[in-house]
Symmetry: C2
Subunit: 323 residues, 2 copies
């Protein structure tokens, strides 16, 4: 039997980081794979030359990979994205093959930890304890989690997992999504009316929406004004969800007490950006949603195994909705 | 029927904070209670005079309350402590009545939130992000919780609840206790041999032991040396569990990377104490284990209801073990 030809097209994460985990995952899945990096990928000296385009069975890629014209890949059964977000690749008109988003259990776990950690940090008012040791003993006991409503905008894989973790800590969680959803223990809302109610009750808001034409700048002056005064905003989703000028204005007036941001319209966030020095903003450098090579490689291998056995691919992108 | 005479003896928490919640809890439990503050308790102007000592059925007390000689309370069926820790009251030789420790669901929830919040804070390396916004984009992705072993010393109500929360976030949790215990998903160890193993594997250690002759200064130079280099210590238990000089020395050498301390041998922690200004120490002013008046009052009412109906009291202190 011929090996399965897999092309790796990504600058970040890198070939050197993924080669060994991918080979191990293919072997574990019993797949005979000929894995090669694309031309233009950061390559190591002894990497094999790329496959001919028309002989590639699967493309494992990041949106910043060197393959931008998917037309010549006539035999390719699926394009398997290494990132959860597909807004940089989904609009590519040459990409007519099935496109799968990365659902990496490691990524989900990391996101749950980042969100739970920052929710608890703000809930417990940790910042003054971490930044200021004045020698003054001023015990102020925070409320219990059960009295701290949290709203998650976006109830996909990541939002749903975060809602579950926060619910088990007894935070009252509201989850909002574009389409109707239900989740045990979570107040689920949807649509425009639902959004207003989801914002009005939130002391802490977590943004985990995909970036689409509908969600771009969803968090604008009007949305920020709907939050209770002094709310905290966490954005581990996508930078484009927020109207940055509106957020800076809301921080200025005290409408928003603090924003902890992991993603930005331009990354790296430029050194002169006002977020860096802002006393009410915490910048974390896109670390909330890192794909982990080991578990991501196993997810890639599973989708190739499914493709080869005729089973439907997991986590296919809806090309009309854009996610 | 005669009302049940209950004496309230506490300076902190205060009569003014507890009177209404206690009365509400007694009413909800269907108990006809004559509740009065002890002489010497911070009283409000219209408080009723105390009961005669020999007519008191139950004493609700904090160790800092004005009642220190329990001998005259010949009819008292139980002394119900408002604090989880009983080391300040258990050794009182005049206290021969059954003594119950406070197990407040609000206290447990608050402790779980404090412990989970600080474990995640150290796990995610939040401090540099909170204290320093340098404008430098240096993404360093922390390991997953599944690769961050946490050890909890003390597997009573509080330790067990914290272990459950951390386990559900996928931290590998080791729980150590004096007596053998088991808990699903937790590696349970006990005894002296168990202690060594529990310390050796811990990147983060949480102290939730009672303070007894056996646990006083348990965390001494020898115990600290058993931890992996760079471990983090969280103490929301009792200040006396730690040999402070040994901890300061271990922070100096880097054996311990950080200590977050909520309890101290002297409270308030004196302004000149080296912990305050230490860059590797976070002081939180005894806020992890605050009893919440509402839920604590319901726990008191439930124990009185049990005493009146002949059922065994909940959470009785073992006067030999001291907790």
């Amino acid at each position: 039997m011929m090996p399965i030809n897999v092309l790796f097209s990504a600058r970040t994460p890198r070939w050197s980081e993924y080669e060994a985990p991918l080979r191990a995952a293919f072997a574990d899945a019993g797949l005979d794979v000929d894995l090669r990096p694309a031309a233009g990928t950061t390559r190591v000296a002894d990497a094999p030359p790329p496959h001919a385009d028309e002989e590639v069975d699967y493309i494992v890629c990041a949106p910043n990979g060197s393959v931008t014209d998917f037309g010549p890949f006539t035999r390719t059964k699926a394009v398997l994205n290494l990132w959860a977000g597909v807004e940089a690749i989904a609009p590519n008109k040459t990409l007519t093959q099935p496109l799968a988003r990365m659902v990496d259990p490691g990524l989900t776990e990391g996101m749950v930890e980042w969100v739970t950690g920052h929710v608890l940090r703000h809930h417990l008012w940790l910042d003054p304890q971490i930044t200021g040791q004045t020698g003054a003993w001023r015990p102020v006991v925070p409320p219990l989690a059960r009295d701290r409503p949290v709203t998650i905008l976006g109830m996909g894989e990541l939002g749903s997992a975060c809602a579950e973790a926060l619910t088990s800590l007894r935070f009252p969680v509201t989850g909002w999504s574009r389409r109707a959803k239900t989740q045990e223990g979570v107040r689920c809302l949807w649509g425009d009316d639902g959004l207003a109610a989801a914002l009005e009750s939130a002391q802490i808001v977590v943004l985990l929406l995909p970036l689409t034409a509908q969600t771009e700048s969803l968090i604008d002056a009007r949305a920020l004004a709907r939050l209770p005064r002094g709310a905290v905003l966490l954005n581990p989703g996508r930078g484009g969800l927020i109207d940055d000028d509106a957020l800076l204005a809301a921080l200025e007036t005290g409408q928003i007490d603090h924003a902890t941001l992991d993603v930005f319209r331009t990354e790296p966030l430029p050194p002169e950006h006002p977020y860096w020095a802002h006393p009410k903003v915490t910048v974390t450098p896109h670390v909330a949603s890192a794909t982990r090579a080991g578990s991501a490689s196993r997810a890639v291998a599973e989708n190739i195994r499914r493709g080869e056995s005729g089973a439907p691919f997991l986590n296919l992108v809806d090309r009309v909705a854009g996610y």
